[in-house]
Every structure is written in C-alpha cells, then in structure tokens.
C-alpha cells in the first residue's frame, strides 16, 4: 500500500558550525514530531557524525532518519547525499575527510559538536567542515551513486553555494536525482523560474529546531526508504512526488 510521507530531507544538527547546540537529537525530533514529519534527512556540512545519534534517538518515534551529508564540491557547490544505511554514509565520509583540507576555528565558524542519542557530548570535530572538498562535482555525484545514495543539488534558488550560483547553470550530463529549493521560494515559483528536466524537492535546510518542516516534500511511497524516494523521483511503480 502506498501512502503519503512528509519528508524534510535537509536539516543540520549541532555538528554543523553554523548551528547552535540546541540542534540536538531530542529537540530536532520534538520539533519534527510537532510538524508531523515522517522522514528527516541529516545533512551536516561534509560530515555525518551525528546521523547515528539521530537514527538511534528516533527508533521508537515513528520518524524515519536518513543518514546523509551536505557535501561541498571543489567548485563550492553544495550537494545533498542521502542513504539507507549508515555504513555507506560512513564510506562517503571517509572519502570526503581525505579530501577536505583545513582545521576548524571555533571562534570564527562555530563549534562542531558530536553527540549521542542521550544528548551527551562525545567530542568536537576539528576539521574545517565549512570548507570545500577538493572533489569535482561530477565525482561527488558518481561516488554517492556508487554507494546507492541519492544526490540532490542544494537550495538552487540561492546565490551562495548553489549549483546555479557557482556554475551559472546546471551542466549537462550530470546525474543529479533532484534539485532542492529553499523555503525562500514556493514550488510554483520554482517551476516557472527553473526550466530543468529534474524533479524539484522542497526542504527546510533548518539550522534551528523551529525551522524544521518549514518547507517539506510529500512523497507517495510504500515505506520510508531512500530506495523508495529514488523510485518516486523517477515516477516508478506508482511512487511519486505529490508536493
């Protein structure tokens, strides 16, 4: 049986330097529950170290967590990567870490807090997560696909760090699964403004608990998995986006 799933596929946690400590697993899940979100994508900058905490914390809450990451390519384009299991997400992280120069400066960029499901601080990531990797965009996409993940170009309506802002237009032959728009623009506006042959998803890009679900995408799926989302983005077997 297919049913609608409300998905916010792009939120940050307290691991991202640009968020505060209140982006903790419990607060995230409380806010998501309030907004009746069924699926959350955990997309911290160039790291997935808090995905597992969210997956564990959400176990009895009827919210599906997709572990993931918002990767910054060499061109400084932000791309979301979402997976069905933490193992493949960690493989992506390993490759990203090897190609991510620099050390974080907490004074300048903020703290990068790693937590567990009980909200205990496990440590601080010291990499320059806000920086760019040295991996070209097409390789980022190929790598995510080779690990069975989906790739969505982040906030294409924004100038900073979006594929259109950085590269002027979306290059041909890229195998993106979808384009994401930020809450700054409606789906109807985006359809008029961006004439690309890609599905459009809406997500919050939340940096504060209250912003979770501010914008979301409704999918018709059998269950809440990345594999099902992949089918919906291709309009396969009755799965689809219903916005």
């Amino acid at each position: 049986m297919l049913r609608p799933f409300k998905a916010d596929l792009h939120i940050h946690t307290c691991l991202s330097p640009c968020t505060e400590l209140d982006m903790s697993p419990k607060k995230i899940l409380t806010s998501a529950k309030k907004k009746e979100i069924d699926i959350l994508g955990i997309c911290d900058h160039n790291s997935t170290e808090n995905s597992l905490a969210l997956m564990n914390a959400a176990k009895n809450m009827n919210i599906k967590i997709f572990p993931g990451m918002e990767v910054t390519s060499q061109e400084e384009v932000h791309v979301l990567a979402l997976f069905d299991n933490i193992e493949n997400t960690l493989k992506l992280q390993e490759f990203v870490y090897k190609n991510l120069p620099g050390k974080n400066d907490e004074e300048a960029f903020g703290m990068q807090v790693i937590v567990n499901e009980k909200e205990e601080v496990l440590g601080f990531n010291n990499k320059l997560l806000i920086g760019a990797t040295t991996i070209p965009l097409n390789e980022v996409i190929q790598l995510i696909h080779s690990l069975d993940g989906i790739t969505i170009a982040s906030h294409i309506d924004r100038e900073s760090f979006s594929i259109i802002g950085q590269l002027g237009f979306i290059p041909e032959n890229l195998e993106l699964d979808a384009l994401e728009i930020s809450p700054n623009i409606t789906f109807e506006e985006a359809k008029k403004r961006f004439e690309y042959n890609y599905p459009i998803t809406c997500s919050s890009d939340a940096h504060y608990p209250d912003d979770i679900g501010k914008s979301y995408t409704t999918f018709l799926l059998k269950n809440g998995t990345v594999a099902e989302i992949k089918k919906a983005l291709k309009n396969e077997e009755g799965r689809k986006l219903i916005h």
Binding site: E75, E76, Q166, L167, G168, F169
Partner: protein
C-alpha cells in the same frame, strides 16, 4: 589592447585559442561565481577566475568574452579543455593569483 600583447606582458601560458590572439580586449572581469559573470561581464572582457569546471567555456561563449585566465596554476579539467577547443575559446593559465593578475591587467589596459 590585443590579447597577444597581454599574454606576453603577463606571461600567460596559452592552453587553447592560438588563432584568436588578435582579439581586442575591452577590459577585465574577476569573479569565481559564474552566475555573476553571466550577469555582469561585458563583451570583450578578459575573465580572471580559479574555476576550472567546463561551464566556464559556455559562459565565455555566451558573453562573447575575449578569453579566460585560470589563476593559481590550477589545471582545467579534461572536459574543460575539450570544450574550449570545440568552441574555440582562448584559455590561459598563470601561476599568479587573481589579485596580482587583475592588478597587472588593470595597469596594462588603463595605461
């Protein structure tokens, strides 16, 4: 000022567009945001950037720019070189950074 003269004075390495060096350069434009270059560069500008993605060729073609200087000794992708050859867009590289190249180009053109 013609491209040929600028290349000699700035000691640029010519990657593509050997046959277009007689083109007149109107001014320079320095930016790494391609959306900004599309919006604000002018015909005949020599574009200074560190972006090496193949989209730079399409943008140069679209805006009818005189050429592209890739700074910091960055090597363009194979696809970028291929596209530059196909579209006959002059592509140059320099080991200097954008600040230095821009300063020198500004001086050349305004003197």
């Amino acid at each position: 000022m013609k491209l040929k003269e600028i290349i000699e004075k700035l000691q640029l390495k010519v990657l593509t567009g050997q046959d277009k060096l007689q083109v007149e350069v109107t001014s320079g434009y320095t930016s790494d945001l391609l959306s900004d270059v599309i919006a604000n560069s002018k015909q005949g500008n020599l574009w200074i950037t560190l972006q090496i993605h193949q989209n730079i060729i399409a943008v140069a073609k679209l805006k009818d720019l005189a050429g592209i200087i890739i700074v910091n000794n960055r090597e363009p992708d194979e696809e970028t070189l291929q596209k530059a050859k196909e579209e006959n867009v002059p592509l140059f590289s320099s080991e200097e950074m954008a600040f230095e190249i821009s300063g020198k180009l500004y001086e050349l053109i305004s003197s």
